[in-house]
Structure formats: C-alpha cells, structure tokens
Subunit: 253 residues, 2 copies
C-alpha cells in the first residue's frame, strides 16, 4: 500500500479550497432560486424551518467537540462559537436571530423552535454531522468546520438577493447573516490554521479533506431534500411541514 505523499502547507490549503469551489452549497440550484427571488413564499418558509434544525444543533455540535478536547486553550478558543449561537451578555445569539427571520417570513417562532415540521432527511443529515464531530478524530472534527471558509460569499449574495427580491427582508430579519460576517472569519481563521498545522502527513491530509467533503455533503443533502419536498411540484413526506401550518397569527398591528 502506498502512503499518500504529504503536500506542502500551501498545496494542502489549495486542496481544501478546491473542495469548496467544487462542492459548497452556494452552487446548489435551490440557493440560486432563493437568492434570485425565484422562491415562492412557502419555499422560503420551508427553507427557514429546515435550516433552523441545523442552527439549533450547532451549539450541541460544538459542545460535543469540546467534550473531547483535553486542552483548555483549544476549548477556550472554541467556546466562542457556542456563545455566538446561544447568546451571551449583550448578544442575543444566532438562534434567536434565526427565529426573528422566521417571524419575518410569517412563521410562528414557537412552531419553528419546536422543530416539529422538519424533514426527516434534514434531521438525518444534521444528526450525522453532530455524531461525526463527536466520534471522529479532532482533526476531522475541526476540518469539518472549514466550510466557513466559503461562507462569506454566500452570505453576501444572500443578503443582497433577499433584500432585493423579498418584502420580508430587511436589516432586522437578516441580522443573522450580518452577524456571521464578523463571527465566521475569526472561527475559520483559527480552524484553518489548526488543520494546516496538524495535518502533517499525507494520511492526515486525506482525512481532513475527507471530513470537509463530508460536511459539504451534509449541507448539499439538506438542500436536495428541501428542493424535492417543496419546490413545485413538491413531494412532501408524511409528518413534514405543510404550507399553512405554523403561521404567525396576525394580531392587531
């Protein structure tokens, strides 16, 4: 068996970035549809409902990671991710911002927070990610977070596209994405540096690259499922959200 050749740090980083260029979910047809104003209101709602499940699991994923880290320095550096999503002093956190987006698209935030209407395929993909981070090597766990390298472009397109094409979109409802502009770069700078430093053999580089590919599969599969269920003609599986459910009751303005 031939061992993999160890690439230089620069070549390995290029390899990781090429994975994003090929597989990141900004290439998914559903995102093109969403950002160009092509989604009907219920398609947007389905996206918000399902994406919420992913958001709600991120802090659990990050806690699962930290539960395996023996180095207090690494835990301290990673802990800010939980604060970003769960909130802290003076920061409501990403989860609450996502529920504000839910409200802006006409959904009852309590319904969205219950995760009752989430597609089974969404749960399977997201839970696979949480388990991956809990069970695999630390290198693979950190590498799987590096999709954030590719996120700034998608957030920019998304904010611009949503503001342009949808009435619900304004700075308040899109505050989740604005915040990620500041939070994601610090996370990914740390994560990328850690992976480049620790993937010091060809075998480890393959494992890290594999983890990043896995993560792109987690994200892509969610959009495939969303598209299949809700984009006309949708095929909504039993138990998943049906348009008309979970809407915000319009009280007196």
């Amino acid at each position: 068996m031939t061992a993999s050749v160890t690439a230089s740090r620069a070549d390995f980083e290029a390899r990781l970035r090429a994975i994003g260029a090929a597989r990141y979910h900004d290439r998914h047809p559903f995102h093109h549809r969403l950002h160009s104003g092509g989604c009907a209101p219920d398609e947007v709602r389905a996206w918000v409902i399902n994406r919420y499940y992913y958001q709600s699991r991120i802090p659990m994923k990050d806690a699962a990671f930290m539960s395996r880290v023996e180095d207090p320095e690494l835990r301290r550096a990673w802990r800010s991710r939980m604060e970003d999503h769960d909130g802290s002093e003076g920061n409501e956190g990403g989860i609450r911002r996502w529920l504000r987006l839910a409200e802006a698209v006409g959904l009852d935030p309590a319904y969205v927070a219950s995760t009752d209407g989430v597609l089974a395929a969404t749960r399977f993909a997201v839970d696979a990610y949480v388990r991956f981070v809990r069970d695999r090597t630390l290198l693979e766990a950190v590498a799987s977070s590096l999709t954030e390298l590719f996120a700034p472009a998608i957030h920019a397109n998304r904010i611009e596209g949503l503001l342009k094409h949808y009435d619900f979109a304004d700075e308040a409802s899109l505050s989740y994405f604005r915040n990620r502009f500041q939070e994601a770069p610090k996370d990914v700078a740390f994560g990328l540096d850690w992976v480049l430093a620790h993937a010091d053999t060809g075998e480890k580089q393959d494992a890290a690259a594999g983890a990043l590919i896995f993560k792109t599969e987690v994200l892509w599969a969610q959009l495939d499922a969303l598209e299949h269920a809700y984009v006309t003609p949708g095929r909504i599986p039993a138990g998943a959200w049906v348009p008309g459910e979970g809407l915000l009751a319009r009280a007196a303005e």
Copy 2:
C-alpha cells in the same frame, strides 16, 4: 411490580441531602488526615496530582452535558461552569488555579498538567463520571452534579485546615477553593431546582437519587485509591507517580 411512590418536593430534597450526609467524601479518612495536618508532603502531592485529573475533566463533562441539551436556555445556564474552570475575560479559571496549588506544593505544573502520574483507578472513576453525564438521561446528568450541595462545608474545613497545618498554604495557593465558594452555590441552586422540578414521579426520583449516589462513589473511590497507594505503607501501582518525580526545579529565588 410496585411503582415507587412520588415523594413531595420537600421530602425528595431531604432524601438527596441525606445521601450527602451519609456518603459525601468529607467523611473519608483521607480528607480528615489532609485537613488536620496529618498528611506528609508527598501524600499532599499525590492528592494534588490525582485531583487535577478530575479537575481537567470537569469542562469536558460539562461540554458533554451541553452537547445533549436541545434547550438554549439550559445550555446558557450551564455554560458558566465551563467558564469557571477554563477561564474567561478576567478570570484565569479553576484549572489554572489548581496548577498554582501544584506549584505551591513543589510540583512542576507542566508535569501535573500532563496527567502522566495519575493512578489508573483515578482515571477509571473520573472517566466513568464523564461517560455517565454523556450517556444517561438529562435528569441523571444534572442530579449527579448535586454533590456541590455538600461542598461548601468541605471547602471551609479544607481552607482552614490547610492554612493552619501546611507551609505551602496561603491565599494564592488556595485561591481555587476560595473561588468555589462563590461559583458552586449558583451552580447548585440552579441544578437542585431543575432536579426537584423534573423528578416528578417516584421512578424519576429514584433515578436522580441513584445518580447522586453514583457521583459520591466516583469521589469516594478516588480517595480510596489515593489512600491505598500513597498513605504509609503505600502500594504504588506501576506507572503512577512516585515521590521525587515531577518536582519543581528550584531555580534561583
């Protein structure tokens, strides 16, 4: 099979407190020896070295707990425990304070932090606790933290006893215990309230009580192992710390 009768909230709390009165490790002969000045310097060092392993796993235990919590409010309330031990803005954290104690008793903090000399029995007991919190019900996980109900008394005795009997002891070296005076009560007030609220059947009360008993066994077993290995005549197993190892090199004062 007869179902357990559900006790009132007050009776159930009394049941939990009775477990502490019977089984908390403040009753262990090693602690009496330590607090009364009866420990030789190497016995104190062995205690510091082994106790460090427990300290180092607490943040991992708390992250393991949070990785299973779907409620952001509960995660937010629990997160302060990680900050208490790992540190945050303006707070060096309990782990660093314990290493200061290590230095005060003449041990090289890098040696202690490596956990190289820790007894296998210590690792087994502590790892069992981390896995318990990861794998059991949330009620059992929270209930297992309630030994903190009984901790203030032991910290008071310990600080007083150590200051009185040992040269190494001063406010700086004992800062870990001083800090726990403020941190533990907030943690346990939350945890006790949560357990009393959620243990609403006889079966759940039995599970919570069982979890608290389990935790007292984790603490007690560590002291039994410590006593067996290091208190004269000690029987130190292969691989564990041997007096003379891991000492702080006495550089020019």
